[in-house]
């Protein structure tokens, strides 16, 4: 969608459709006029090469657009961080690339975060609360242990499928034993706690064997789910992850052995 208008005697090309509204709602102008013609330059740093041309009338209208506030910038950096971590890996990601992705200056990152690792830590800290709240809600709405297990696994897969970048980063960094270990292990631990709870419910119900070694069962389930998610991540999300939940829970409950073999 382009539109021609006049500005100070110059013909100005106005291009609106390419503006990245989702990320950036303030106006950005690049006037390129030499009295004869005008043209557009892409801003290749931090603005996703999107460019708008305005005339004065439009300037007035833009005046009512809310400015970028702290909160917005904080969130934008957080998301940009995960995007870049997913793209390059945490170690290879640079502050510059995150800043460019977020549309802020390099230095601005340091107004909101201590350093690169802090972006990752705070992202997961925030998402963890949110996701575990969903887990809790899903489990609480079920009656049987089997159903609870199904809802947990299902919900896990749903959350990762919704935010593939997060899934990539999480799966890739989960095994990083050094930096970030506490943060991420903490998440796994909480996940395992939920499983333990469900196991105990199941044992009370009589649908789960009582002699099981709980610590192992927790890892058995987490490991299997994790691997299935990881495979999906590596496959670049080309199939539906959640549909794996039902057969996976079936494996958890019945194992691979045939009844006759028991």
């Amino acid at each position: 969608m382009r539109e021609q208008c006049s500005f100070l005697g110059c013909v100005v090309t106005k291009k609106l459709d390419s503006f990245y509204v989702g990320l950036l709602s303030e106006a950005i102008f690049i006037f390129c006029c030499n009295g004869y013609d005008s043209f557009v330059f892409s801003l290749n740093k931090g603005f996703n090469t999107q460019v708008m041309f305005f005339n004065p009338v439009f300037l007035v209208r833009e005046a009512s657009i809310s400015r970028i506030d702290r909160q917005d910038k904080y969130q934008r950096i957080l998301r940009a961080g995960i995007t870049v971590f997913a793209r390059r890996g945490v170690f290879r990601a640079t502050i510059s690339e995150i800043a460019r992705e977020a549309g802020v200056a390099d230095g601005t990152i340091y107004l909101y975060f201590k350093n690169k690792d802090d972006i990752l830590a705070r992202f997961f800290a925030g998402r963890t609360e949110e996701i575990f709240a969903r887990f809790r809600k899903a489990i609480d709405g079920a009656d049987t242990a089997r159903e609870k297990l199904f809802r947990l696994v299902s919900c896990h897969m749903e959350a990762f499928q919704e935010d593939r970048e997060m899934a990539v980063v999480f799966q890739a960094e989960t095994r990083k034993i050094h930096a970030m270990a506490c943060q991420v292990n903490d998440i796994s631990a909480r996940y395992r706690d939920l499983i333990a709870e469900i196991i105990e419910d199941g044992q009370a119900e009589g649908v789960i064997r009582k002699e099981l070694y709980i610590a192992l069962v927790k890892r058995f389930i987490l490991g299997a789910v994790d691997e299935v998610v990881n495979t999906w991540v590596l496959a670049e999300g080309k199939y539906d992850l959640v549909s794996m939940a039902e057969p996976l829970v079936d494996l958890f409950m019945r194992g691979i052995g045939s009844a006759s073999a028991e």
Copy 2:
């Protein structure tokens, strides 16, 4: 490392070093005679993959010569690399630290390896063959699919327990989606192939359900084993990993459900 001997009336200097014992246990000679004296060229570069066989007569003589020189350094750097990778993570590890750990100068690393990644790649390339040979042997010695699965898992855990540093690095790098992915994914793929093979055996035996979605089962098993190993790694190897194999395989076969619940 050098020894003078007589061969067909020529004085021959014999020098043995520079070769990987693991790959090559035979002697390598280069005689350079010009009628007055003779000397040896050591094959120091570019011969890593070359294998030369000598006449048994010579082998006997060679048998008493120790082979530690370059061989030793190559292995020391390899081990130092894994030690440092386990300590710092592959990315944070520096060539300087590996050199210090190996007790050599920085530049020496580059006489044996292309770069940091090459150390990792060659380590796994070497170990992979060895470990899968053990897997194969373990499986081939078993009669039932259940026993095969048990031996595979057991053998996996044994191998990792024997070399905890390798386990740390492997678990940490397994999920790295970017660099090294091919190397490590290849290993996982081969592992899954073994599982698939066992599953099919079990289905033929009638002890494993026939309607299973194999691709999922493979990941179900690998993921669970992997997570159990990973937990052991994070626990700094304080308990016996192999004793987890039996209950784990039990979970694979019977699941967590009680018979009455089916």
Copy 3:
């Protein structure tokens, strides 16, 4: 370097820097207004080749703003590079020494140039245009071929005498057959084209012999001029180079033979 002004009722911050004066003498603005305040983005990277023209009204205002910031640093590094190249030779010059000479940090060099060779390449790319423009102007102002040849040689010597460091680097690198060859050979080729043109003019005038082998004549002249310049360079510029032009052109025209000998 910043200035507040009013433009159509908006407060506009104007920042001018970052651009090569030699390439671009117009003003560049990026207005970012969101209704509350407005600010400027400096176009710091990737815009070297982009040229934007402003309305003359703005140009007048801009005229009073000094442009030394990045411009200055770019030029300082360029000059420091040539100084160090002249002092040590291109190969022996180090980035550190150039940075020290320019009074910037090592890393700063990489904000302006790709690497060491890029400094040399961009220096000559810039000077080539300028110098050949002078050559062209000098030649066009002359009537006879002899006069043209004189002016070309004269102008060449003048340019080198003005910037001895450039002369040193150029003479030293001209013969480097490997790196930079294209850049520098290209310059020589253009020089020879000018000579060929003059020769042809002279032939038309009847003052230059018609049976000459032009390819040889071009090298005959270029080589002689080049050697005379080179001698002057090695003599550390202790005499007037340009005064060599007249007798040199005389040699070109008449040779060393006496008329009686012909």
Copy 4:
């Protein structure tokens, strides 16, 4: 030309034609026998990948081959140095590459030369004597100054054409103002002395103008010759350089001006 023979019960392949006789006359053996078969490896360090296989009978014969003596090694390194300098440029050449080219060990170079520059310096020191002796002889055999000039230029071109590697290195390094300057300038100075001598002869003969500025004439001639040689070097020696001598000397004597213009 391969020949099969038997050695200690092994079949041995003997290959004689690929031996680099010119550089290396001692025998080099690589036995590759495992009791079943034998094969050839190329020695890729320092021996141009040439390999011979001998049997004991042949060993006896080799015993009469003269050993490599100091002189031979010195000359081989000298030549290898020029070859590598011509290929890579003096700065980019490494001691390792020169050693490989010469078929000696890196350390051996330091038994004969102080360092890399010393190889270059000693090469030119040696060739200078030889070449100037030829120049002298050529000049002394001529009667007229014109003929002398022609023989000098001709001889120069002949010498360079005979040893193109030397020509490449000389032309490339001539203009290096820093290292080597004294060495190379010294050569040019001696060359110019010869020219001056010829000029003076010519003036006595009356075929060369008496009012000439000798210092300029010397550079005029040297520069032109040098440039013509350089062009030939860059053209990779695809045409006959010496045939340029006659028309070049004609330009020196008569210039480019037509008689009518005088």
